[in-house]
Structures are given as structure tokens and as C-alpha cells.
């Protein structure tokens, strides 16, 4: 089958370009960029709208196994397709945690039915307990793309150093959550004037810096491949920049919520704004956007965390943290584009190219030979977010009722259309 997308505004994160062109797709791969339509091709007229590589969303929680009422592979896949996400990198903080190769093989078989690609991270320690390392070699053979204990930092530095040393031999990637576990225990806000005013248990931004410094020390010692899941405070940036300049094999990510929301949003105690780590100051938010533009922060992800209604209908500090994001990542990212902080190619570098590269996936590129995982979207189209229209089984989004811009018109996975929205 041959597809030809013409009159498209091509967002190329590799060349960091943004211009009108065409794409030819044959048998699930991009065959040519800017060529004339081959004979017999199905023509798609993009009408000047944006065509970009599909988003690679690194760190999506899916409720399988254990919490399928919150999200299944199928519902997550549908939400992803509607949000322009063509590859989901699933988190291992399931019930039970994804920590053995047999479970991973089972889960991967279930995930294969979803309309988008789903790849899996495995836990770093057994049961995410921070006491024993998982069977990294077997898990890697079973398809684990990275190892992470999610938002639970491994506090035993000796064990973590051994995990890193062992991972280095496999060339495996470890995803850390830079946070001092002791300081951040129980915190739901960032310490300062506002948290004190609201009376919420809070943690200093330094807890993240301390966690980062510790992990970077271990990376220096072991030379492991390492990625920080979420960098959210400006004070973390100098250490991160320095470590990258040293040539350590490290990358860093941040969440779309920390780029678009701040601690003021906690004012109404709305539990959809409870995140781990908590929302930060406006200065931190702006610094994170600049860090993404500069490339110090490599990855933007949604950290999609479905929670049922009951786990959010609680006092703020007792509510479960996290928000859904597969379907809101693209319109939320458009806020950054319209406010002028980031260009579309810069956004796609962080949401698609960089995560794909770091995880060794064939995605994130608009070049001949690349997999035809694509999103066609209108960056301008305005709408009011209605959480009950989201395809995810859980509806916990902080953007409910917000005026957004950016609508997905179509999503293709391996050249196959998996979502068709209104034009």
C-alpha cells in the first residue's frame, strides 16, 4: 500500500526544520520526503496542517496487571492514537511490579493488540523494594527497554551501584527518579510561601538536587547508561549540565505538567494537580522550558497516570498522585509553542526523536527508511477540554475545562491509520 501526504507542514526534529512538503509511505515505511506522488498512491491532503513523527511517550502507567479498571492496554492504545502518541513506553510500577521475565512476556503479548506500539520498562529491583536486583539479562531478552523503580528511589546506594555495574555489562539503560527519599516522604507540594499558606506538607527543591547529585556520583563510579525521569527544578540544571559536559552517558526528562502548570494551581486543593514530584514555582517552570530548548533536558513525557475517581476524591494530601496525559500531551505542548518558549521541531525532538534514540527504537524521524509512525495535527484549533471525552478509562486531567489549542487530525502507525479526527 502506498500513501502520499501532500501539502503538509513537515515538522522534522532531526533537522530542526518546519516547512511545507510531502511524504511518500510504502509498506509501513517512509519511502521519500518531498517526492512527487507515485502512481496508485492514496493521496492525503494535509491542507497545510502539521505532520510530525508520532510521539514516543516515555513513562506511561497502564493498569495491567493489577488495575485494569483504571487503564487497559486497549484503552491506553486508543487514547494514545487519539493523542498522536504512536509509541507508549509503559512503566513497571504495576500490581505486582513488572520484575520477572515471564510476567513481561505475558504482558507484552497482551499489549500487542493495542493500536500503537507498546514497549515496556522493567523494575530495577525485585518488587520495587530496593533490596535485590531483577534478572536484568533475562528481562532484556524478553524485551525490556529500560529499568526503573518508578518514583521510588533505590535508597541503598551499594545495591544501586551494583545494579548500575551489572546494567553496564548489558548496555542496559537505568531510569532514575532523582529525589532524596527521606526529605520528600509525605510531601505533596514544594516548600515555600505558597505551600505554607495552603498548609500542605512540602519538600524543598533541594531534595531533587541531592538525589540527582547522588545518582550522578554513582554514574561516574560505574559508567552506567542513565536517564533521569523528571527534572523539575532550576537548581538541578547546573549539575546536569556539568555531568553532560563530562561526557557521562546520561539524559534527562521532564513532565509536560511541570512545563505547563505551577504551584499556584494548588490553590483550590484540586487533587488532579497532585503530582510526584509536586508542582514547582513559576521560575522553575520557565527554567525547565529553557532547558528543553537548550537541550539540557532531552525528553518531555506525559507520565500518564490513570487514577479512578475514588482515589482522587479525597483531601489533597491523601489523594493519589498523577494525571492522565496520553491525549492531553499534544495540546498541552501547544501551549509552549504558542507562548513562544519552544518551536515545533524542538518539541518533537523532546517528545519523539530523543526518547526513541535513547531507547534504541525506530521512531522519531521523518526520513526515508524510517517507520511511518506519524501524527497529522492542527496546532491552532481551539477547544475546551472536557475530561469525560477522553478515551482513557480514567479521566483525571488537570486541564479539565481549560481552553486548549491543538487537535489531532490523524495518527498512523507503520503506515496504518489508527485515528481519524475531525478536520
Amino acid at each position: 500500500m502506498i500513501l502520499h501526504v501532500q501539502n503538509a507542514r513537515l515538522i522534522d526534529p532531526e533537522g530542526l526544520t518546519d516547512g511545507i512538503g510531502s511524504l511518500t509511505i510504502r509498506d509501513g515505511l517512509i519511502e521519500a520526503v518531498g517526492a512527487a506522488a507515485p502512481e496508485g498512491a492514496e493521496i492525503i491532503d494535509a491542507a497545510g496542517k502539521c505532520t510530525a513523527p508520532g510521539i514516543v511517550d516515555w513513562g506511561v502507567k497502564i493498569g495491567e496487571p493489577g488495575e485494569r479498571h483504571k487503564e487497559s492496554f486497549r484503552s491506553a492504545g486508543l487514547a494514545a492514537a487519539a493523542g498522536g502518541v504512536t509509541t507508549i513506553i509503559a512503566r513497571p510500577d504495576t500490581l505486582p511490579p513488572l520484575d520477572d521475565p515471564e510476567a513481561l512476556e505475558f504482558v507484552a503479548r497482551r499489549a500487542a493488540d493495542a493500536p500503537v506500539h507498546i514497549r515496556h520498562m522493567a523494575a530495577l529491583t525485585k518488587g520495587r523494594q530496593g533490596r535485590e536486583m531483577v534478572e536484568m539479562g533475562f528481562l532484556q531478552d524478553a524485551g525490556a527497554v529500560a529499568f526503573s523503580d518508578g518514583v521510588r528511589p533505590v535508597t541503598d546506594t551499594r545495591l544501586l551501584s551494583r545494579c548500575m555495574t551489572y546494567a553496564r555489562g548489558l548496555d542496559a539503560l537505568i531510569v532514575g527518579h532523582p529525589q532524596d527519599a527521606g526529605l520528600s516522604a509525605g510531601a505533596v507540594a514544594t516548600s515555600g510561601k505558597f505551600a505554607s499558606l495552603y498548609g500542605l506538607p512540602a519538600v524543598s527543591p533541594m531534595a531533587e538536587v541531592m538525589g540527582l547529585d547522588r545518582d550522578l556520583g554513582l554514574v561516574r563510579m560505574t559508567r552506567a547508561r542513565w536517564h533521569a525521569d523528571q527534572i523539575t527544578v532550576a537548581a538541578s540544571l547546573p549539575a546536569l549540565r556539568r555531568a553532560k559536559d563530562e561526557g557521562l552517558d546520561i539524559t534527562a526528562g521532564t513532565s509536560i505538567h511541570h512545563l505547563t502548570l505551577n504551584e499556584f494551581d494548588l490553590g483550590d486543593y484540586r487533587t488532579f494537580f497532585r503530582f510526584t514530584p509536586p508542582l514547582r514555582s513559576e521560575d522553575d517552570r520557565v527554567a525547565m522550558i529553557e532547558a528543553v530548548a537548550e537541550g539540557v533536558i532531552d525528553v518531555i513525557a506525559s507520565f500518564h497516570t490513570p487514577q479512578d475517581e475514588e482515589s482522587k476524591r479525597l483531601p489533597f494530601a491523601e489523594a493519589a498522585p498523577g494525571a492522565v496525559g496520553l491525549q492531553t500531551l499534544l495540546p498541552a505542548a501547544m501551549r509552549l509553542f504558542h507562548q513562544g518558549g519552544l518551536t515545533l521541531p524542538q518539541l518533537w525532538r523532546a517528545m519523539s526523536l530523543n526518547p526513541a534514540r535513547r531507547l534504541g527504537l525506530d521512531a522519531g524521524r521523518l526520513a526515508p527508511g524510517a517507520s511511518a509512525d506519524l501524527v497529522l495535527f492542527d496546532p491552532e484549533a481551539p477547544f475546551v477540554m472536557d475530561r469525560f471525552k477522553l478515551l482513557s478509562k480514567s479521566k483525571n486531567t488537570p486541564f479539565d475545562g481549560a481552553l486548549m489549542q491543538g487537535r489531532v487530525i490523524g495518527t498512523w502507525v507503520r503506515g496504518k491509520r489508527v485515528f481519524a479526527g475531525e478536520k
Partner: protein
């Protein structure tokens, strides 16, 4: 040539001294295969086996070696006695010294403890393993096994596989085989590899298949139970999959490669049971036999030096 007063490690030995021990050990192998296994090399001398760490194999090997050379052998199970009552290592040494032993065989769980003890006594001290430091008689018996199986002890490619970091056997072998000019490869997970080991002048391989390629000798090390789960390696089965010696991995070594193991083995963890029993490759039983012979040779040589030294002291005293 053998000048040493103690056998504390392989490190202080010259290649010629190593050869002397092995040559003499060869003759003791012949003796041990006779019905009457008796020599008078240590006649009238007292040998005390002082094991601060339990060991059945090494202790019985030393005991048998001493008895076959005619020594009076005493085993002190220190692990259960005075140490429990709070005596320090040095006090134990001085107490023993007062009993005038001639040969002291010591095993201790602390690196350097045997050296400390050797400074405090008047007899010859043999290190039967100290912490993660050295286990010289094991390296010597391995060398003898290799020399008899391969016809030489130089220019061989020798892969030492497994828990290198915690192994005194690996250290002593590394030093000995290096002194004899062999090509040494260390194979194992990075978590079980000591830091800076590449600077010892050997190749380090995390991939066992690359490490075994064309090896003449495959030396497996024991993986201790307490290291099996989660701490240094994820699990027994992943360890076996990646670093256990099976027929497929062994096929990458030379066709006439020999397989060694210091024992006791964990079948199915570091070595496949059928490989351990394969008479075409495995020399694991020979190692046990060579152990007695090498210990006889080492004690014989140390006893000669001790007699010579005491004789010299005596003649000096007469001159004065």
C-alpha cells in the same frame, strides 16, 4: 631453589621457586600412589593446623600431607575455642608459639591476618587462605595440575571465570600464572570483578563466550551462596545462563581444553554437572590429588629452610 621462610602467598615467590615446588611435588605424586605412602621429611616435627574459618577439604589435605611426611599433626579448631572467649589473634599466636611448633598452617577470614601471625612466631607459616588475599597452595596445586595435563606451564591461554572479586584462589592463580608468562583472561559479571583489575595485566571479559575463545584452561570459581540472590547477581538461573560453564560455551575453548574447579562445586550454578564429570576435559579430581602432593612439597621445602636457619643460629651461638 627455594629460599622462602614462610609460604604466605605467591607474590613473594620467584618463578624458579615455583618450579622447585612443582618438581618436588611431582615426586610426591608418585609416592602418594604407592601402597606405603611414607617419608621421613618432617620426622619429629610438629605441625599445627590453625583454622579460624571452617574448611574440611583444605584442612584434611594439609593433615594428610603432614602425616605422610612423618610430622606430628595437631588440628586446632580455633573457630570454636579461644577466639570465642575473646582472645586476640596475636595472643593465640604467642600461646601456640610457646608450644614450639615447626609448621603452622593458618586459615583466617581476614586478609593479611596470616602475615600478622607470621611476624609473631618462630616457625614456618603456611597460608591456607586469608580473606580475599591469597591461597598459595591452591594456586600451586592448580599449576601442577595444568603442567601435568598440558606438559607446560607457560604460554597458555587461561580463563578464570566467576566471582573474581571475592576469590583468594583467583588472586593467587592470577599472580602465579602471570609470573609463569601465560595469557590470563578474567571472565565474570562486572559486579564480581575487582576494581582496577585490568591493570593487573590480564584481559577482562564480561561476555563468557569471548572469554573462553580458544582457551587452553578453563578455571571455574565457586559462587558463594550468600552472593547468589539480588546483591551481586540477579539470580542463580541468570548467572548460570550467562556465566555457567556448559557444553555450548566450552565448545568455544580449544578442543583439548581442561576444566578446573577448586571445589566444592555448585552443579547447575557455575558448572554443568556433565562437564564436571567429563573425563575428556575435567581435571577436578586430579586437583584434589595434586593438593596433597603440593602441600607435602611446600612443607618439606619450608622444613629444610627452617632446619638450615636453626643450624646457622646454633653455629653462630657457638662461635660467640
Amino acid at each position: 631453589m627455594f629460599r622462602a621462610r614462610h609460604l604466605l602467598g605467591i607474590e613473594p615467590l620467584a618463578p624458579a621457586e615455583i618450579t622447585t615446588v612443582l618438581d618436588l611435588a611431582d615426586s610426591y605424586v608418585d609416592l602418594n600412589r604407592r601402597t606405603i605412602k611414607r617419608s621421613d621429611a618432617l620426622e619429629g616435627m610438629t605441625q599445627i593446623n590453625l583454622f579460624f574459618e571452617n574448611s574440611t577439604r583444605t584442612q584434611s589435605s594439609f593433615e594428610l600431607a603432614g602425616k605422610r611426611l612423618g610430622a606430628d599433626v595437631m588440628n586446632m579448631a580455633v573457630a570454636q575455642s579461644s577466639v570465642k572467649k575473646g582472645e586476640t589473634l596475636i595472643d593465640t599466636a604467642l600461646t601456640l608459639n610457646a608450644m614450639h611448633p615447626d609448621l603452622l598452617v593458618v586459615r583466617h577470614n581476614q586478609s593479611g591476618a596470616v602475615n600478622l601471625l607470621a611476624e609473631k612466631v618462630n616457625c614456618a607459616v603456611l597460608n591456607a587462605g586469608d580473606g580475599r588475599h591469597e591461597h598459595p597452595t591452591q594456586a600451586l596445586l592448580d599449576a601442577l595440575t595444568i603442567r601435568r595435563a598440558k606438559g607446560r606451564l607457560h604460554r597458555l591461554t587461561i580463563a578464570i571465570c566467576g566471582d573474581i572479586a571475592h576469590s583468594r584462589v583467583a588472586r593467587s592463580n592470577l599472580i602465579l600464572l602471570g609470573k609463569m608468562e601465560n595469557r590470563i583472561r578474567l571472565v565474570g559479571p562486572a559486579t564480581l570483578m575487582p576494581a582496577g583489575v585490568a591493570e593487573f595485566g590480564c584481559e577482562v571479559h564480561e561476555d563468557m563466550r569471548a572469554g573462553l575463545q580458544d582457551a587452553d584452561v578453563v578455571m571455574m570459581l565457586r559462587l558463594q551462596r550468600e552472593r547468589m540472590d539480588g546483591g551481586f547477581i540477579p539470580s542463580e538461573r541468570e548467572y548460570y545462563h550467562r556465566w555457567g560453564l556448559d557444553a555450548e560455551k566450552l565448545a568455544l575453548a580449544k578442543p583439548d581444553a581442561i576444566v578446573m574447579h577448586p571445589g566444592p562445586m555448585n552443579r547447575g550454578v557455575e558448572i554443568d554437572g556433565t562437564i564436571a564429570d567429563d573425563i575428556n576435559h575435567s581435571v577436578i579430581r586430579d586437583q584434589v590429588e595434586m593438593g596433597v602432593a603440593v602441600r607435602m612439597a611446600a612443607m618439606d621445602l619450608l622444613a629444610r629452610n627452617l632446619r638450615a636457619e636453626r643450624g646457622a643460629q646454633l653455629s653462630r651461638a657457638v662461635e660467640v
